[in-house]
């Protein structure tokens, strides 16, 4: 079991957890993720490691509640535990000195892009960070974003904070203004990443996107996370999660991510109907120790 040493809300439905996981903390590199399971009947879900502290033996993750598992996770508080965490999984981001790098991230994607942005900055890149959110209360980690970048733009869909518009609007402005862009990293909803790819691919700007396909084991054993790159099938958990945007078939990714939509909605609804009870049940199970269902 993995103890939560700090839990705090950082935005609307977005929570940050610092968790004891010494092995993972020692090995983590930017761009990698963990897979966790909350209880004996729970599913395994992937979450990016935002940062790690090898000395304290902790990793930090940021979670947006969108379905049953993430909603239950976000009910947990400092002092609670998580049953299973495995990692660090996936290939680390490629860190090089490209020159000028534009990072585009949407709400929780900001937390996912931060470690790579930091590392790219440390490698000598000029970082332009464009953070997007639906509205002011979903803008997260602004201070850290500013610290990880040389120029920062905040975009909101409703204009309630920063500038009005999507992150791609800002990217378009940068491109139109003739700025030299050597590398782009986009992390966020699939339509956003696809829009970025459509803008940068014709210009030949090397662009990486972090693909959030549905995963089970995270070790290459099931192939459920497979994504289509050109004609080639790749496993996002071991070959990714970052891929060259110009190769990615985003339509297939979107189509595969809807595979369980009906079940997920039903399971979220059922969870919301008796949240308190399920949280209590989870805590009781964890308190009883590692019980394995047979």
């Amino acid at each position: 079991m993995y103890k939560i040493v700090d839990a705090r809300g950082v935005g609307l439905n977005i929570k940050q957890f610092v968790i004891e996981a010494p092995r993972i903390a020692r090995k983590h590199k930017p761009g990698q993720f963990i897979i966790l399971r909350l209880h004996d009947k729970g599913e395994r879900i992937p979450l990016t490691i935002k940062s790690s502290d090898p000395v304290a033996g902790t990793v930090t993750i940021v979670v947006q509640a969108i379905g049953k598992t993430t909603s239950l996770l976000n009910c947990l508080e400092t002092g609670d535990s998580i049953l299973d965490i495995v990692g660090p999984l996936g290939k680390p981001s490629e860190i090089e000195n490209y020159g000028t790098v534009v990072v585009l991230a949407g709400s929780v994607g900001t937390a996912m892009a931060l470690p790579t942005a930091y590392a790219l900055k440390q490698a000598g890149n000029h970082i332009v960070f464009i953070e997007g959110a639906r509205s002011a209360e979903m803008v997260v980690f602004e201070d850290e974003v500013r610290a990880a970048s040389s120029e920062t733009f905040i975009m909101t869909d409703d204009g309630s904070y920063g500038e009005l518009g999507l992150v791609t609007k800002k990217l378009d402005e940068l491109i139109q203004s003739g700025r030299k862009i050597d590398f782009v990293l986009a992390v966020g909803p699939v339509p956003m990443m696809r829009a970025v790819a459509r803008m940068t691919t014709p210009l030949g700007i090397k662009t990486m996107v972090s693909l959030n396909s549905i995963m089970v084991d995270g070790t290459g054993m099931c192939g459920g996370c497979r994504v289509l790159l050109g004609k080639q099938s790749k496993f996002a958990c071991v070959d990714g999660p970052e891929f060259d945007a110009s190769m990615v078939n985003f339509e297939v990714l979107m189509q595969r991510n809807t595979m369980y939509r009906e079940k997920e909605c039903a399971s979220l609804k059922q969870f919301q109907e008796n949240m308190e009870e399920q949280l209590a049940e989870l805590r009781a199970e964890l308190a009883a120790g590692e019980k394995h269902y047979v």
Partner: protein, 485 residues
């Protein structure tokens, strides 16, 4: 192998050989196909004492028992059968454990027809002695008696061994090594222990409680387990040896990487690898609506499974149990070439699985929303035998047809799990990325590191993996004692 009879004369089988040969092979009692194809309960119910003893009395006690010769690990079957006949089941179990660390498991899943029972002389004319069923009988008897004699461990040697992977190879090595007095810690990537035995082979063939029982025994013997560790990612082999001070490592990571057909349309929603399907159902228990994993509700769905081995057979029978309207096996050769256990093929047919033999999918078809609607298939013909000795299937021109399907499961094989090899440059591998290990000592190219089971041989069997685990244990013990690489 000549064996002195362990029995007093009075307990020996006095029936004349001719009489013994008249006794019919005892049937394994099974759940009714109509009932079992709707649930996940174990299909085979196990022999009762009377049937077990009667079955044992069929053995004609060959001077050179073919069963022992054809057992991949040389289990002393003749002696064990005699002990069952004499009613000393616990002694039979102890004898069994001398060569086989996981008898309750292999008794259920070994392909006996190609091994012990294939070598039984009675099979030449009639039915061979039901050795697998007897093995299961004594192992279950021992477990249920609660008199499992866990052997005492040798005094502590001060050496420690890391085992990577908790499949049959890893578990068997762990048991032997801890008995020799070494400290043993098993690292497993998944959250549950047992490897394919828990995530692959379904409950209706191998109940999870049996695997758990074996793991608990090892725990009691002092084996330590750490789940959620992906060696190569969470910690490297070098770190295990240099920073965590393991004196030797046994790599038993299996061959779990799914192979797809690489035909168009494989990305449609509804196409799965058998590994994904079975993992979701077995490990994540998707058949139980109490669990969060998306339940593979196969009701009203046409499910096809591609392949002819145990994996494909397990997937298609699982789909049936999840309520599939039709559950069809598509295999490019004929039934004679199917690598699956014969009993599974028989059970599958009884459960209403349809077989499309000599058929191969060449493309998956989908609707505009990306959901699978069917598979375009061609009929095959068999030509000359290939390297594997099986007749090579060739397409029949113009024989294409569409098989409608909402779910397609690909169970055509697996390859090496890659994560250790890719982070251990000094570990020699062959061109398919399997780890190279010496046949006798299971030593790899990296000092202190041994490897065995499916990660060396490619997908094989539980008994071979178990045998490799024990061989590795002996070899590691020898290395730790001599200190010489």
């Amino acid at each position: 192998m000549s064996e002195k009879s362990p029995l007093p004369r009075s307990a020996m089988n006095v029936l004349p050989l001719k009489e013994r040969m008249k006794i019919l092979r005892r049937h394994m009692p099974e759940l009714d196909p109509l009932v079992r194809s709707r649930n996940f309960a174990e299909v085979n119910l196990g022999l009762n004492v009377l049937d077990a003893v009667t079955e044992a009395s069929r053995c004609i006690e060959c001077a050179k028992p073919g069963c022992v010769v054809d057992c991949p690990v040389g289990v002393q079957i003749k002696t064990i059968v005699a002990l069952i006949h004499a009613g000393d089941y616990l002694a039979a179990a102890a004898k069994l454990r001398e060569d086989n660390a996981l008898p309750a498991i292999t008794g259920r899943v070994c392909p006996q027809e190609n091994q012990c029972e294939g070598g039984c002389i009675l099979g030449k004319k009639g039915a061979p002695v039901a050795i697998g069923n007897l093995e299961r009988f004594v192992a279950d008897f021992e477990r249920e008696s609660g008199q499992l004699g866990l052997p005492a461990n040798a005094p502590k040697t001060g050496k420690s061994v890391a085992i990577v992977g908790s499949g049959p190879a890893g578990l068997s090595a762990a048991g032997d090594l801890v008995q020799k007095g070494h400290r043993v810690r098993v690292f497993e990537a998944l959250h549950e222990l047992g490897g394919v035995l828990v995530y692959g082979i379904p409950e209706f063939r191998l109940p999870k409680s049996i695997v758990k029982g074996e793991v608990d025994n090892l725990r009691r013997m002092g084996v330590e387990f750490e789940t959620n560790v992906v060696v190569g990612k969470s910690v490297t082999l070098d770190e295990l040896m240099q920073e965590e001070h393991y004196d030797a490592v046994f790599v038993a990571t299996g061959a779990g990487l799914p192979v797809f057909l690489n035909v168009p349309g494989e990305h449609f929603n509804g196409v799965y690898s058998a590994n994904e399907f079975l993992t979701r159902v077995n490990l994540m228990r998707a058949y139980n609506s109490e669990f969060d994993e998306p339940v593979y509700d196969c009701r009203d769905k046409d499910v096809i499974v591609v392949g002819g081995g145990n994996t494909a057979m397990d997937a298609v029978r699982t789909a049936r149990r999840l309520g599939a309207r039709t559950a069809t096996l598509v295999y490019r050769r004929s039934e004679a070439e199917m690598p699956a256990r014969k009993e599974e093929v028989k059970h599958a047919r009884e459960e209403g699985i349809e077989f499309h033999l000599l058929t191969n999918p060449v493309e998956f078809l989908g609707d505009e929303k990306g959901w699978l609607t069917g598979a375009r298939c061609v009929r095959m013909d068999l030509s000359e035998p290939d390297e594997s000795g099986r007749r090579r299937p060739v397409e029949i021109k113009g024989s294409e047809f569409v098989l409608p399907a909402n779910v397609a499961i690909i169970g055509v094989g697996t390859t090496a799990n890659p994560l250790i090899q890719s982070t251990t440059p000094d570990l020699a591998t062959n061109k398919w990325n399997y780890i190279v290990a010496d046949e006798k000592t299971l030593r790899t190219s990296k000092p202190g590191v041994f490897a065995g089971g499916d990660i060396v041989t490619g997908g094989a069997t539980v008994i071979l993996a178990m045998g490799a685990g024990r061989k590795a244990a002996a070899s590691i013990h020898e290395y730790l004692t001599s200190g010489e690489w």
